[in-house]
Symmetry: C2
Subunit: 280 residues, 2 copies
């Protein structure tokens, strides 16, 4: 099935900001997502930048606060924001903000009750691209990926697990070593179980350590980010990236916190960086 329901479409920066819904076979639920298509020539296909959101977010947060449309219009990039988990009455949840709905961590859960619906890796990396290719002028050979916090973890790990699939990878304040921090440990224990060997296949730091790689990474994080030391730890990527020959551009931005005020400030630079690589 590739039926797509249009929830809204608004003209913005010469293009169209849309919100759509469809029935996902990966998650077994209805899923919403946002797509911005910039102005473009008829018959043109455009590179796409995937943006994966953080804990508690939906497709809407970055759409409203991310300030990406001006840069996407300038560079001719399609911008897609999926949801962060399956949702709905029949979908398992947890009272905590960092588990269950809003906290899918971009992995396919292996443990009950999560494993039925929480198949966000399959959804984001396979099902949604195939669906979008049928409905939007996407050039699927030119995909980039980025994300924030939990979504930064998603961007890094999906790219590391699919060599060549994404031509460019960046992140805003990502969780880089989920196996070592409370957010990741809680999610992985629930979704994947106690076998830490499995965890390492979804942990950017561990994957780079054992030799998986991408050519280069752009990461921004604020030094006033309230989660920097306990949950994010981007500095630990420096050693393994050096060892693995990954060109890591890690920028510690003075005074910035974990919010969309931080993300929106550096969004245009990330889009320009992706555009340079996607259009090379």
């Amino acid at each position: 099935m590739s039926a797509l329901e249009t929830i809204s479409e608004n003209r913005a920066f010469g293009g169209t900001q849309g919100v759509y819904s469809h029935r996902s076979s990966a998650t077994g639920t209805d899923m919403k997502f946002a797509v911005y298509v910039p102005p473009h020539d008829t018959d043109a296909t455009l590179p796409v930048l995937w943006y994966l959101s953080g804990l508690t977010c939906t497709h809407a947060n970055v759409m409203e606060k991310g300030e990406y449309r001006a840069a996407c219009a300038e560079h001719g990039i399609i911008f897609v924001a999926p949801d962060t988990s399956p949702r709905g009455d029949g979908v398992p949840d947890d009272e905590a903000y960092d588990l269950g709905q809003g906290a899918g961590f971009y992995i396919d859960a292996e443990r009950k009750p999560w494993s039925t619906h929480y198949r966000m890796e399959t959804y984001v990396a396979r099902e949604l691209p195939e669906l979008l290719a049928k409905h939007f002028p996407l050039d699927m050979k030119r995909q980039g990926i980025t994300g924030h916090s939990m979504g930064g973890h998603g961007a890094l790990t999906l790219a590391l697990r699919r060599p060549g699939n994404y031509k460019s990878v960046s992140a805003f304040a990502p969780i880089v070593a989920p196996s070592k921090v409370p957010w990741g440990q809680k999610a992985f224990l629930n979704y994947l179980g106690t076998n830490e060997e499995i965890w390492h296949n979804h942990d950017a730091y561990s994957m780079i350590f054992i030799g998986r790689g991408v050519p280069e990474l752009l990461i921004d994080v604020g030094d006033a980010d309230q989660f920097l030391d306990e949950q994010l730890k981007p500095e630990i990527l420096k050693g393994v990236c050096l060892e693995a020959g990954i060109d890591l551009k890690l920028r510690i931005q003075p005074g910035y916190d974990h919010s969309y005020y931080f993300i929106s400030t550096f969004m245009a630079e990330h889009i320009a960086w992706h555009a340079e690589r996607l259009k090379a």
Copy 2:
């Protein structure tokens, strides 16, 4: 009293996006507002752009969706977004979205029960500027004003009522003739009473018609705006502006609606336009 309570401050585009609260003597309530201060030299004072929001909004809508910070940082402009009405348990309200809280129309109400708290003109044009001058590096000789919909009405009328106070005036999809349209008639009837002579003192079209003026106006509105024909009617300004010698730049933007997707698309152009005049 000039006490200011800081609700939040976030680093953004090299400056600070703040939200503050204070006790207003004009409205007799606590009032919130948002201020963006761009990066600037110590001891510098900066021009300020007032942004008045539309029906149902608070200070937060434009702060989250308006995409003004990049341009304000580039041009060195302070951006202030007040609330749209007094609020609180003791403040009169109405079930309709277009009367009462969230719908102050930037006038001082003359009729009960509104007249006690609904004194938004005094608040926005006098009390808040005086308060801000004490707490932020504002050059009060260089004020510009803009707004959206009801707030576009506010920008036009406050500027027309205070010749010379604002050096630049623009609007997004403004109500230009409230006396002639349902939103304005309902508000004026409730807040000002049945004497239409008084209405004309708060109606941009009427004021320009009787000879009040500003040197120039920049107005953008989308041709897919759902309120264009019934509530906004910007085209009727053309004749009176020509007659009054006001340089009206009215741009009908194809495909755009009444939303913040429209506003954010043209925000940077408005800020550049104000900056040119405020820094001349």
